[in-house]
């Protein structure tokens, strides 16, 4: 097969039980350009890309490469044609090394041996050339999210992809990693790669793409060169109505302390210190933002407050009582809410129905169950109204949760946690992977909860989000709280410095 000069999807329709994910969708990308594919959560972007990659079979439609029709009925075919894809949820085998993950796609000359050294060598060359910096002998499970993404990119490069699909590549990256990725993208485009870029971060989209294609409810609604549009217009086209981020009224009256951490020490999975003497207080009616590059102890911080992580020194008090090393259940019962970082596996049970995930924390309580039987009618009504109220897009409440689009799973978790009206909430990266209208919505909800006196710990890497929502910002760096500042005194450059570990006036 020749290099792909142009790739076109024509009249693609894909139906799932209860939804039409794509309806007569068309899309065209040429080598040397970045096409941004935009749309709300559940608009059908990932579905369309899975069709392109041979994972899903469309009900109808055609795919043309260099104006010739091709049949892509398996990922193998896509790979052979030169289509590479970095999936929204990574496609790596955690128990294998980087080299082995790449070797999986190679047809070796001999059936009886694999020349893994040669593969490793080639990976080394590729990562050098593209500045990707990966030790190919490591197990995938030992890599961070950012590193895993590099492995996905290496895979695509290894198999000479010249059309590359990136499905929300920056959703879980640190700002630094995002910058690197974008720099890298620019360099490969120059060499003739064609890129389809999916993202909910519109400033990134404006920054890298040449053209934009917007989907809504599975249909094309807008298509334009990037030079002729702006963020507001794109947001409007995606949502179908105006989108404005909530303006936040600064509060200056807060309630009593609700969560208090005192000299908390904890170790991570590898047995190394992950929290070293953390002191924090969160008051009622306050959003305390945690700023920091991920991997500096955020996960352990959130998990020790919610009871998932043991601490070996210090104390955590919630409403005046110690909850350090108490069971998760007892902490939930005491009124703690939690939006975990890993939405698919920590936040939900993927194989459970939407309604089952919605009542996961309450099914034992009245009115969800009477004596020991579930009250089905109540549950159905409750879940229907929750799904409506929080705009969780799903065919119905009996759909298995893993069939929802990424952003809608996030909304499901949010709705479950907020509906319970906890006294305090730990929210880790609550807007990761959600569309701009949903960001607005989630922010409104968080602010509303704050105004209703909830104490919220907000962990995020988005500086805008931090500054917009938080009343105070604590900066975490290398497992310690470096500083806590009033948001009124915070600006991006100051936070940026703190996040890098540089504290003004000290040392």
């Amino acid at each position: 097969m020749d290099k792909i000069k142009s790739l076109e999807m024509v009249n693609i329709t894909k139906k799932f039980p209860g939804v039409i994910a794509n309806k007569d969708v068309h899309l065209k990308v040429e080598s040397g350009e970045v096409l941004a594919l935009l749309g709300e959560n559940g608009a059908g972007k990932t579905t369309l890309m899975n069709i392109l990659y041979g994972l899903y079979h469309p009900n109808s439609g055609r795919i043309l490469i260099n104006d010739q029709e091709v049949k892509i009925d398996s990922p193998k075919k896509a790979l052979d044609l030169g289509i590479g894809m970095v999936h929204q949820h990574f496609m790596l085998v955690p128990s294998l090394t980087v080299t082995e993950n790449v070797a999986l796609g190679i047809k070796f000359k001999s059936k009886f041996s694999m020349d893994l050294d040669n593969v490793a060598q080639k990976i080394k060359l590729l990562s050098k050339k593209h500045d990707l910096n990966i030790d190919s002998s490591l197990l995938i499970s030992d890599l961070s999210v950012g590193e895993r993404q590099k492995v996905e990119i290496i895979k695509a490069l290894y198999f000479n992809a010249n059309i590359l699909v990136l499905d929300e590549p920056t959703a879980a990256l640190t700002p630094q990693e995002t910058d690197d990725l974008i720099k890298w993208l620019r360099s490969v485009i120059k060499e003739g790669m064609g890129v389809i870029f999916i993202s909910h971060k519109l400033n990134e989209v404006m920054n890298v793409s040449d053209r934009v294609e917007v989907l809504r409810n599975g249909k094309n609604v807008f298509s334009t060169p990037i030079s002729k549009t702006n963020i507001n217009q794109l947001a409007r086209k995606m949502a179908g109505h105006d989108v404005e981020l909530p303006t936040v009224e600064r509060k200056n009256k807060f309630g009593n302390t609700i969560i208090e951490l005192e000299n908390v020490w904890a170790k991570n999975e590898r047995g190394l210190d992950a929290l070293r003497g953390v002191n924090l207080t969160i008051r009622k009616g306050e959003i305390l933002g945690i700023a920091g590059v991920s991997g500096n102890g955020q996960k352990e911080l959130a998990e020790s407050i919610t009871g998932l992580q043991k601490i070996y020194k210090g104390d955590i008090r919630f409403k005046g009582e110690s909850i350090a090393n108490k069971s998760v259940q007892s902490i939930i019962d005491k009124g703690m809410g939690y939006i975990p970082e890993d939405r698919l596996h920590m936040g939900t049970i993927p194989g459970f129905k939407v309604k089952e995930n919605l009542i996961l924390k309450d099914y034992l309580r009245s009115p969800f169950s009477k004596i020991f039987l579930l009250d089905r009618t109540y549950i159905k009504d409750y879940c229907k109204s929750t799904v409506d109220e929080y705009d969780v897009r799903c065919p119905n409440i009996n759909t298995p949760t893993h069939a929802l689009s990424g952003g809608n799973i996030q909304k499901l978790i949010l709705s479950r946690e907020l509906k319970r009206e906890p006294d305090a909430l730990v929210a880790s990266y609550p807007i990761r992977g959600v569309d701009i209208a949903a960001v607005q919505y989630i922010h409104e909800k968080l602010l509303e909860a704050r105004d209703n006196d909830m104490g919220i710990l907000l962990i995020t890497e988005e500086l805008d989000e931090l500054i917009n929502l938080s009343d105070r910002i604590a900066v975490i760096y290398e497992d310690q709280i470096l500083d806590v500042i009033d948001t009124a005194e915070a600006d991006k450059s100051k936070l940026g410095l703190l996040m890098a570990g540089i504290k003004e006036g000290s040392r």
Binding site: Y53, L55, Y56, H57, S74, P75, K76, L79, D80, M85, H87, H89, F90, M91, L92, V93, P94, S95, L96, E100, N101, A103, L104, G105, I106, K107, F108, K111, F112, S113, M114, S141, K155, P350, G351, H402, A403
Partner: protein
């Protein structure tokens, strides 16, 4: 007991243990491939039963042990095909389909036995090899160099399957398919094909293990010949943490413990034999409980793969 007697006893127990661990090795390594690819085949016992019968029948009626073994393995392949069709293609619950296969093999073997043989018959059985001077060596000659050919094959299977699993691209695919089938699929691996291959291979080995029992160990067939060995083989896969050498260790440990237990029973002790019989099983359970290891278990075990479904 004199020191001499003790040494003799140990030698005897070990020699027997090596011979009786062969069917466990065949069946458990077969099951390991199946599970590594994500399919739990609980039908091993039934496959062994049918394998044992087929091998014995042809060895007895046509006086060819080789023919018997070949046909047993062939029948094993057919049962593997059935198992994979039901659990890979039709996506049936694997626990149930495996038990179905077990009952099927058990029932068919019993029925055919009644129809075609009917009573106690025996055959000469697979001869032990004489390996020249090696077999003459003191101690080692008896211990290692006087077994039948299938014993050597069983022990050879351990390094071979290790090599296949960890050093060939097919083995790599097997490992990927059993833990993250979707990822394997996106790299162009045909998930269901690999699973078919593994289940069929596993069933062929299980049938070989069964054949071993009838034509190389007991030299006869009876309805209770396999006596739970197929289920022990499944346990050994867990015991061995899905690794060939782990399984070897488990099979040996179990066989030695069993030999010891038998000796204890016939040594005239008054200890209730029901309790001593438990000993090898207890040992396995304790070791199982004490061992944990990262990533040992294929994470997609028992989960059928459906491309259009995310998960």
């Amino acid at each position: 007991m004199a020191i001499n007697e003790i040494l003799n006893l140990i030698l005897r127990i070990l020699t027997v243990a090596i011979a009786v661990s062969a069917p466990y090795l065949f069946a458990a390594i077969g099951e390991m491939f199946s599970q590594k690819s994500g399919v739990l085949n609980l039908g091993v016992e039934g496959i062994m039963m049918l394998g044992a019968f087929v091998a014995f029948y042809f060895a007895w009626a046509y006086e060819s042990i080789l023919l018997g073994i070949i046909l047993a393995v062939f029948v094993g392949a057919l049962m593997g095909l059935l198992m994979s069709f039901v659990s890979v293609t039709l996506k049936a619950k694997q626990g149930i389909s495996g038990i179905g296969l077990y009952m099927f093999g058990w029932g068919v073997a019993g029925t055919l036995f009644r129809l075609f043989i009917g009573g106690v018959e025996d055959i000469a059985g697979l001869p032990n090899l004489h390996l020249g001077f090696l077999s003459e060596l003191p101690i080692l000659g008896k211990l290692l160099f006087s077994h039948n050919i299938l014993v050597y094959l069983a022990f050879l299977l351990v390094p071979i399957s290790w090599y296949v699993l960890y050093k060939t691209s097919w083995g790599l695919k097997v490992r990927a398919v059993g833990s993250t089938p979707r990822a394997a699929d996106t790299m162009g691996t045909n998930v269901n094909k690999i699973r078919y291959q593994c289940v069929i291979l596993g069933s062929m080995l299980a049938a070989l293990g069964g054949a071993y029992l009838s034509v190389a160990q007991a030299n006869m067939f009876a309805n209770d010949l396999v006596a739970g060995r197929g289920f022990i083989a499944v346990a050994l896969v867990y015991f061995g943490r899905w690794k060939p050498f782990g399984i070897l260790k488990g099979a040996m440990l179990f066989s030695i413990a069993n030999g010891f237990q038998r000796w204890y029973q016939i040594s005239g002790s008054t200890f209730p034999y029901e309790v001593t019989v438990i000993f090898p099983y207890l040992l396995i359970i304790i070791v199982l409980a004490l061992s944990h290891e990262k990533f040992a278990e294929p994470t997609a075990l028992t989960v059928p793969y459906d491309r259009e479904f995310k998960g």
